[in-house]
């Protein structure tokens, strides 16, 4: 089959697929317009949250993580944006879905790690963000791209931040990855992966006594080849 036939066939399948799927959406129009929002989500609460602003991406950084600090002030965060919350040494933190717009006007995907003490209402924000993928330098700035990452489940982004006196490490992993196995000494722990924007995110609260550990990605309980990595932690 030549390229033209190949393309024609793909286009034909595309049209067929899209029209078939569209036909499965059969909800009839209601009698009239109702200005209330369509879907009800969880209740919101005032707690601590992120400011809204531009993202500072260090030029040398290629993995999709960033530090977000600046003069804008912490506002509220919807409960539905909270992926998980935790507490280490009495310091509370949240992993929340990012809702920023990055360079080039592209929405930032992924999560931000927010320590409560550093992000009280009305204070200047201070968070670290993690996106699954890598930053590509485009004409207007850096844009996250997942293409190469999606081709290889062993690829991931990781990084951490201090929460109180403890280190919290965040993994951004391939959509097929179901867990992250952490091993140190005779101890092993499988981290739960949370889905955000289609990718997976997991958090490891590094115990005080641990200076080095290994991490492996899991799919259905099996280690993803090539994902084994030794992590060393330098404490101040």
């Amino acid at each position: 089959m030549n390229d033209t036939e190949d393309r024609d066939l793909i286009e034909q399948r595309l049209r067929h697929t899209l029209h078939t799927l569209a036909a499965t959406v059969t909800e009839g129009s209601p009698e009239g317009f109702d200005r209330r929002p369509a879907a009800r989500r969880s209740h919101r609460r005032r707690w601590f949250a992120l400011g809204i602003g531009a993202i500072a991406v260090p030029l040398a950084m290629t993995a999709a993580s960033y530090v977000h600090e600046g003069s804008e002030y912490v506002d509220t965060i919807p409960r539905s944006d909270i992926v998980l919350s935790g507490s280490v040494d009495g310091s509370r933190y949240l992993l929340v879905e990012s809702h920023r717009t990055g360079e080039c006007g592209v929405p930032v995907t992924g999560v931000e790690l927010v320590e409560e003490k550093k992000n009280l209402l009305g204070s200047e924000w201070s968070t670290t963000g993690y996106e699954y993928g890598e930053y590509l330098d485009t004409g207007c700035g850096y844009v996250n791209d997942t293409t190469r990452f999606l081709e290889d489940p062993a690829r991931y982004v990781d990084g951490g931040a201090w929460v109180g006196d403890s280190f919290v490490w965040v993994y951004a992993v391939h959509p097929d990855v179901t867990g992250v196995r952490i091993t140190w000494g005779d101890t092993s722990e499988d981290l739960r992966v949370h889905e955000v924007d289609g990718a997976g995110y997991a958090v490891f609260e590094v115990p005080h006594e641990v200076d080095e550990y290994t991490s492996e990605l899991l799919i259905g309980g099996r280690v993803v080849p090539g994902s084994h990595e030794v992590q060393s932690l330098r404490r101040p």
Binding site: L18, A22, T24, V25, P37, A39, E97, P107
Partner: protein, 154 residues
Amino acid sequence: MTTEGQPPVLGFEDAYREHRLALLRLAYLVSGSHDVSEDVVQSAFTSAHDRWDQIDTPLPYLRRAVVNLVKDGQRRRLRLRTRAVDRPDVVLPPEVDEMWGQLARLPRVQRAVVVLHYYEDLPLTEVAALLDRPATTVRSDHRRALDKLRKALA
């Protein structure tokens, strides 16, 4: 698309009844999520409601609003992966299921380009205008999407 003083051909309620299902389908194909579809279509009509007498061509306006809402406002609920897309409550032919799964793996802009071009039958120049992207970029998005699908389905 605005005009001064010219009312739209359709009244708001009529447009709601006439276009809602089509927009739900478009939103579903672009987002892969029934929940997102409901949200963005409702939001699109809500935003249009207060300025309805300024909207000359309701369907293109609403279509643009829906795609942009999926792209911007609801992107966190979009799915990158096949297994995460909402599956309809019907059994799909294998070839349709396979293609739908591969569509879900496309970057969201490429997916929007494909849906608007092959489902809505919009020329790529109109897709570019709707997505507010240069026409050359949209042509590139389109070509890359087809290349990916062709390789994935080979």
